[in-house]
Amino acid sequence: MSRISRRGFLGTAATLGAGAAALPAIAGPKTHPPGWSGTERVDEVATTCEMCFWRCGVIASVVDGKVLRVRGNPEHPQNQGRLCARGNAGTGLLYDPDRLKTPLLRTGERGEGQFKAVSWDEALDFLAGKLVEIRERHGAESVAFFPHGNGARFFGTLMKAYGTPNSAEPSFAQCRGPREVGYSLTFGQALGSPEPVDLEESKLVVLIGSHLGENVFTSQINAFATGLSAGAKLITVDPRFSMAASKSDWWLPIRPGTDIALLLAWMNVLIGEGLYDKEYVASYAHGFDELAAHVKEFTPEWAEAITEIPAAKIRETARAMGEAKPAVAVHPGRHVTWYGDDTQRARAMAILTALLGSWGRKGGIFLPTSIEKGSFDLPDFPESKRGRADGAGEKYPFAIEELGVTNGLIDATLSEKPYPIKGWIVYGQNMLESIPQPSRTIEAIKKLDLMVVVDVLPVDQIKYADLVLPEATYLERYDSPTIVESAKRPFIAVRTPACEPLYESKPGWWIAKELAKKLDLGAFFPWETPAEHLEKILEPAGVNEKHLLSCGAVSFSGKPYLEDRAPEDRTFDTSSGRIELYSQDLADHGADPMPRYTQPVEPPKGFVRLIYGRAPMHSFARTQNNATLNGLMPENEVWLHPMAAKAAGVGNGERVVLENGDGVKSDPVKVFVTEGIRNDCAYLVHGFGQKTKALRRASGKGASDNGLMSRVNVDPLTGGTGMRVNFVRPVKA
């Protein structure tokens, strides 16, 4: 038994970048990894998963430097030992033979994909030289940074130190941006991730386009299932019969793009029939009379004509909400950039939540509890005279600058306005799959003097790169600690290496720190080792690093509900200091102060609307090459209603090419004919149809939804790209 030990990196700080050494052995075998003979020493490393971005706790079992198994960490406050398919398949990423192995420098023309392997020293010298050159010739702002994931945080610091404010991640303008802004305008507070939906305590869950079950985040699914099994009712609004729809008490197959009409009609019933939470609204809300007057005309009959949901069903579901309030969880969704009016739809959902008295209430949306975190005294970041190029705060007045507008940076690169962008650093994302209008992205790349990709896998855009840097996977690296405040019990968790980085890959912190040295920006990284970095951040929270490293996460007591807080602390950080049913901020920017339905563009004859979503075995376009996950779902299928299939002359199981209104064609994809989708839609699981041959398992499997998104409706408030505005027709392959 003494052969089993846990290990962490304390006391071995200096070697962290290259792995970790053992702590004194503790008693008891906790893991019996597959392939373990029963005699070698097993090291257990408690760390944080990154097969998606929910940040579950995992235990990696390591024998002789090899990670044999990744399991859920039973002591982790978020997932309590549970882990989804992707998390269980973690070693498939670590040992993916197609991983990037060394730094690569372009040799051929850009786009040809010809590279030579170079040393890190050579690679970083090249990069530092280019960055200095661009700063001298065009100004530091002419470098744009596209980060994703925890590993990119250190690089983000470096980019600020270098002098560019131009950082933007797809998690805003291609994902949850409008949601954060819509809720922030209403409650004075963005939702954050994980979104704080009290599913387990809810009496009624309302999903608007959310496909929980196919979209799997372990703790959220657990709360969802717990709530349902405790008797919660479920309303699912989705043009597709999703897994959630199959569990619903009411499935409302809405005409796509008309959700705001449904939401307004629900408000009409709640207010008209006096079913809203009168006391809550009177205590906390601003603009109720204006809202009541505004929604008066939006009757269920009005909405029926728009949404194709019978008025009786709209009334019935509104009354169910009135009955269950305030324990109604109107799930705010996650990827919400659909039609370009998304901030207003998020506002409508937030206002509905407010009318039901559900914000800060058990079974509704709970409140975050802040955790104090330490930081280093860094030199001042250079101030940019030219400001941001992505339009955040200006063209897109409500965009959150910290997250940025990716498409704003692509627009700026193409138009050279407000100034030219000459360098891109893309970190941890497959931007040709994550950002719509990929042909524009490629056009923009062609205008650059410098294109750098930092990633674990050879994703599609690698072939356009001048320099490729191989990052270590989450199992091989330290990251800045995860601090999750939007949990009922907020927590701090740590990501720490379970094994040495394979090949020549390096952790993100090391890449940033080494490049900083070469740019004379070392002062922005005033720590020698990750352990030192961790210690500093944990200091104010009073968390012992050894304890954190041994168990992976430390949680704190939270104050998730308004009732947990003194009356004077039940405040809202809005202009009026109250929940804003009516938003003067929006009115001041010439936008509707209360949501209004706008008609979506309809598919032309012979076309159906392309909608898309997730499968539980895959995360974005990141996991299709994973042996286990590829085995579970090697390709996607296009869902078509029998009428749509018949009209196109295609049958179940046949291969088709999807062609959009602009003549863009997908790779061949199998047809799944099903009654479980409206006849005006086609559905694809996102992330497939990857082109690069370097991902041998993923290459050429299925169709890319993103590839078919040649159009977007940009949300004028946030810059979010509405992506459900593309129409396709299936053509026999």
């Binding site: 699914i221 299932a225 019969f241 042996a627 286990t628």
Partner: protein, 243 residues
């Protein structure tokens, strides 16, 4: 004696495949193979009045497992806890049990050429742990335990909460895997994934898959024996020579 059983609560299950992925990692199951499969029933009804249910298939550890008598080598057996297991050292990979299983819960590993299947994570049970699929299930939809433990969760669910098994009047072999769900969903599961009657090999198949390898094995062994004798002789000869 224990009588182990598994319950999957299909009201909670979202068909996320975490059980399969966890099982694959725990037992090093080759990609594209599985000891436990996640499925979804075909849709019943027409738009918009539809119904469907997830379904998790695995070895049912039947009271009367048709795979046991089908096994010519004695590799497949039922242990004291009712768990149906395969002794890989004895298995000859003939796959008769694969055909005999009404639940399609067995496969021949392309790596070892032996039959592999769910054994309720016997080594984990022996250590007092839950099976890997139960421990990982994000939805908390899986329950494992001893049916004979009257205070246990599984006993309660099976005997007092209306858990059902997937069986037909024709194929009733006493499965020990149970399902909870809305009645219409359980009906749909039963209709969509009925167990098939055990298939036992016909003579020709038996020749191809069992007798032929056996004969070849015997021939091969005799050849090996001859070779060993020959080299022994040679070796001895050399020794003789050295002496």
């Amino acid at each position: 004696m224990a009588r182990y059983a598994m319950v999957t609560d299909l009201r909670k299950c979202v068909a996320c495949h975490a059980c399969t992925a966890s099982c694959n990692a725990e037992w090093d199951v080759p990609a594209s193979y599985a000891r436990t499969h996640v499925k979804t029933t075909p849709l019943a009804g027409t738009f918009p009045n539809l119904s469907s249910s997830p379904y998790v298939a695995q070895c049912n550890h039947c009271d009367h497992p048709p795979c046991v008598p089908a096994c010519p080598s004695g590799a497949t057996y039922q242990d004291a806890g009712g768990v149906v297991r395969v002794d890989a050292d004895v298995c000859i990979g003939c796959a008769f049990c694969v055909d005999a299983c009404p639940y399609e819960a067995r496969y021949v590993s392309p790596r070892t050429k032996k039959v592999d299947k769910c054994d309720f994570c016997s080594p984990r049970i022996a250590r007092g742990e839950q099976p890997a699929c139960v421990a990982t299930c994000p939805a908390g939809a899986k329950h494992f335990g001893d049916l004979e433990d009257r205070d246990g969760e599984v006993h309660r669910i099976v005997f007092h909460e209306g858990a059902r098994r997937v069986e037909t009047t024709d194929v009733a072999v006493g499965p020990n895997v149970y399902y909870l769900g809305r009645p219409e969903h359980l009906d749909l599961v039963a209709k969509s994934f009925p167990p098939h009657a055990p298939r036992y090999p016909v003579a020709r198949e038996a020749w191809k898959r069992l007798i032929k390898p056996l004969v070849l094995g015997v021939v091969g062994l005799s050849l090996v024996g001859q070779a060993v004798a020959f080299f022994n002789q040679l070796h001895k000869g050399e020794e003789d020579f050295d002496e």
